[in-house]
Symmetry: C2
Subunit: 586 residues, 2 copies
């Protein structure tokens, strides 16, 4: 027998080692928990374990291999049935720091909004039928009064003339019932604006291919979203749905592309200047704030800023125009412009080095214009590449002084850059579900997030493009992170939410207000989560049967992937029997 | 214009940052390269780029999304056609430090060996037909003389009596031609001993499920491999094929399971004591050495040691028996026993903490027995879990003083443990292809290896279970690592090969001999690789056409994933046209 002393020493050393290893984590840095925090965290871990061994361990039609943290698009229908998801839905989540405005509103809501505007038209390259409907994209656009049509022939009519514009409502009403009628029309439009599981996991199952589909959702959607009257409704809906999800501040990116993706005015023809877009955004924000104040809910929404973005396929001299445009908007809307970014698929488009010339003089340009600093908030390392241009963007983002890093998926490969991020407080805008759907990771379990957390890298969880992915709000992303770990619990999520406020572009006073408001709501949430979780567990334990084996005290294996030891045993038993039968014969 | 000075300063700072970031890498640590090294490294990078844009950019029947570093089981047929693979085949690879002996020999070779022994029999639970053949596993076993049969009825005959033993050769000869005849028989046996792409990527596409299949390959294979006469041939074949692949030292694990998977003697019934297995292994090694010496090739093979292993489902008191057994073997074969390990699926079986009691006194037991130290060489962190028992095994492996870590897939999540591995020179036995097939990573691009290399963690590339995965030798694993990176080149591979010798269990004199021999072969290899690569590139450039766009000086994107910018352009063009058509109408 090894002596009890040796064992006790070992265990002490082990605890010490684990503590050192995790010392960079927010939940470890936080220090001792309050009784309420500790209890809520414990209850939520038990709920997670209970659901891992029950709802995640069943067989589902059309969901090949369910497990917590699985591919989002196939797992979503299970996620929304969980108690964990229900509870997280109520969590105050702080700031949303990475989302592309054009992809933030639920597609069915967008369609409902669009139907209100007679200017909105749709067309197709040929008459739609059961054979071609899956491969033909809708083209959507507002039209000026003089070009609007009555839309006599349905899109699904064999006599439909290729590329004839039809009013959106009309096209919907007249959609052939064989193709599903109006609901079939909605499905057709929706399919063009979202990524479906077959695309992500079968037909477009590489980073390269899924980006093609992903980009086409923006191309199709712009026709709706960038019609100014819709745009205002869209911003409002984005903010309200964020608030409903517990988000109290948003910092979306708007991609400005003056020629390729202009904003169209109510008349269906005039191009809207960028300052009008800013103005419209500000109006909506102020209006929402006023409404909330009236309802005594002003703590639920602190505000919003915009990260001015353009797409990294333009020339350096074109970029200079956008930099100047951004500066002039900063001058007019100093509290609205949070930073500048270059967006688009990093693996496909131009690296930051291509734009060094203009980027290096951006600060100078700002000084000349007399505006306060506009930090870069660059996308960087949204790639699987090792030493590719997209991966190397991380060096340039940091050298150029980026305030945060969008994605930073490949950061884990860069020890020196990780150290710099820690030292300078450069937060990584981590988008778990986006990364998975865009095929950088196959499930949450392969995501570098846990590594980043343990290495003490500042992180904010973000949704990126929820309308295309279906991860509206931040609840889904928080869920995936919580479900796929045995280390991360509610306390860690809370600290991350708090950090999202710290790393936002709010000014110090706003931050303080946001943090105070967050803490108040967090305390209420902890009580709710504890109560809700405990009720669930009581009910759950009373219902446990042989199929839903519940063993919260057992190996974390079962908590993680559900009960599977029996399968191993079965395999071993088979082998054992084979050997035994063999012996019996001898 | 930003000043040329500012730009020059930026570029200098950038170079400095990259150098610091990569300072832990072996290729950076190595210092200035010789002319030959630099040239070979450059040529191989060009070959990689050329093939990324040609052979990897074509469409293949039955290979959905080809790219360099892709899923091994579907990509293999492309890999073997590449020049890169051909060249790497000749590379001297140093030591193989992680392989399970039972899964090291090509299945068709194993079958050929097995056919030589009349004791070998096979049976099935029912007569095989086209419907059930895919779901019925062969049971294989040597039988004692008195139980051997003539095997009148074929396995595929409807009159076959369930579980009747048939001599292997007879079963093969009489296999119904409708099921492929003798080749059909080979396919049936082979399918039970390997993992096929459908299993890995469709039907068993989770860690949990693929392990079930994987374990069954061992269960079926043991009946062949653990028949002592076959076992000796098997060891010989393993060593010879390793040498043919450029491996000069092997350190396989043998899983000892005295009751469940015993070794059977030539008579088909006597159990072979473990010391006889050791003796047999030693005999084969010595014989091979003698043969090579005779041929003047002694530099090609320095030797072999065994890591005594057992499976982590036994009880702690059973483990004590195995620890004692290991010690007694160490006493008799001091130069043969390299270490002790516990193997099997970490997510399923017992964690190291379960065995703390016996493991903590292993050193004491060794002292009492008066043997030289037997280090632990533990599997650890072969998991996607974050804080699961399998992930936590890493803490215990290190606390228990492990010499190396098998897999360490989750090590990247543990900053403190990474630091310890660096400081203490605990090398990680990284098995890229194994990890991918066993679903810890979806492709090489999601593997943590590049991160480990950049963080300066010592690493040895290993094949794990090549007979089940089809990655015989080390060439395939080196290929995958090289193909999926733009940082790693030939020089880095060479340094890793050298390190595999440094981190082996050879004694200092052997290591020195191995390193000297390796260097000599490496110099020859560099010349060969340069010449072969240059010839290929000359030929390649002369054949380039529009389909095989070759742009070695262009963005690394194309080098990595093949030409895809045109696809993006197509998407953008579509959008552009949509917008333009819209403008035209106005």
């Amino acid at each position: 027998m090894s002596s009890p002393v040796a064992m006790a020493e070992y265990q002490a050393e082990r605890r010490q080692l684990i503590a050192e290893d995790r010392s960079g984590r927010l939940d470890y840095k936080k220090g001792p928990l309050s009784e309420q925090e500790a209890l809520a965290d414990k209850v939520i871990r038990e709920v997670r374990a209970a659901e891992a061994s029950s709802i995640w361990s069943r067989e589902y039609e059309g969901i090949p291999h369910p497990f917590p943290g699985m591919e989002f698009l196939t797992g979503r229908s299970i996620i929304v049935q969980t108690k964990l998801f229900e509870i997280l839905g109520k969590m105050p989540k702080g700031a949303l720091l990475h989302a592309h405005l054009d992809a933030t509103v639920n597609v069915s809501v967008l369609l409902e909004i669009a139907m209100k505007y007679p200017a909105m038209h749709v067309r197709a390259s040929t008459a739609l039928n059961a054979t071609n409907i899956d491969s033909i994209l809708p083209q959507l656009s507002p039209l000026p009064q003089e070009l609007r049509t009555a839309g006599g022939t349905a899109l699904t009519d064999v006599n439909y003339t290729s590329n004839t514009w039809i009013p959106l409502t009309k096209a919907r009403e007249t959609f052939d019932s064989k193709l599903g009628g109006p609901e079939g029309f909605d499905r057709w439009i929706t399919a063009a604006l979202i990524i479906n599981p077959t695309e992500a996991y079968v037909t477009h199952n590489t980073v390269k291919k899924i980006w093609q589909k992903f980009q086409s959702t923006f191309a199709v959607g712009a026709g709706l979203v960038r019609y100014e009257p819709i745009h205002k409704d869209y911003i409002r809906e984005f903010i309200l749905s964020s608030i409903a999800d517990g988000i109290s501040y948003v910092e979306p990116r708007i991609s400005f592309l003056r020629d390729l993706r202009p904003f169209i005015a109510a008349d269906g023809k005039t191009l809207v200047p960028h300052r009008e877009i800013m103005k419209g955004f500000q109006d909506v924000v102020n209006q929402v704030k006023a409404e909330l104040k009236e309802q005594g809910r002003e703590d639920e929404f602190i505000g919003a800023r915009i990260i001015y973005s353009t797409i990294r396929f333009i020339t350096p001299s074109e970029l200079e125009w956008y930099l100047r445009d951004c500066i002039s908007l900063k001058k007019e809307f100093p509290d609205l412009i949070a930073g500048f970014d270059l967006v688009g698929p990093e693996d496909e488009l131009k690296p930051l080095t291509y734009y060094l010339e203009p980027l290096l003089k951006f600060r100078e340009m700002q000084k000349e214009a007399g505006v306060s600093e506009i930090p870069f908030i660059f996308h960087g390392g949204e790639t699987l590449g090792d030493g590719t241009e997209a991966d190397m963007n991380l060096y340039d983002a940091i050298l150029l002084g980026t305030k945060r890093i969008g994605h930073g998926f490949s950061l884990i490969k860069h020890p020196k850059l990780m150290q710099i991020c820690k030292e300078r407080g450069i937060a990584i805008e981590v988008c778990p579900i986006s990364n998975e759907i865009l095929r950088l990771t196959s499930s949450m379990h392969m995501h570098p997030l846990p590594a980043l957390l343990n290495h003490g890298i500042p992180v904010a969880l973000c949704s990126d493009d929820p309308s295309a992915f279906g991860n509206m709000g931040l609840t889904f992303d928080y869920f995936q992170v919580l479900a796929a770990s045995e280390v991360t619990g509610l306390v860690q999520l809370g600290e991350m939410a708090k950090d999202s406020i710290n790393f936002s572009s709010m000014d110090p006073e706003e931050k303080e207000r946001a943090l105070t408001a967050w803490q108040k709501r967090w305390d209420v949430f902890l009580e709710y989560a504890t109560k809700e979780g405990q009720d669930f567990l009581t009910q759950f334990k009373s219902e446990v049967n042989v199929h839903d084996e519940y063993k919260p005290d057992n190996s974390v294996i079962r908590q993680q992937y559900g009960s599977r030891k029996w399968m191993y045993k079965k395999t071993m038993r088979t082998e054992w029997m084979m050997m035994r039968q063999c012996n019996v014969l001898r």
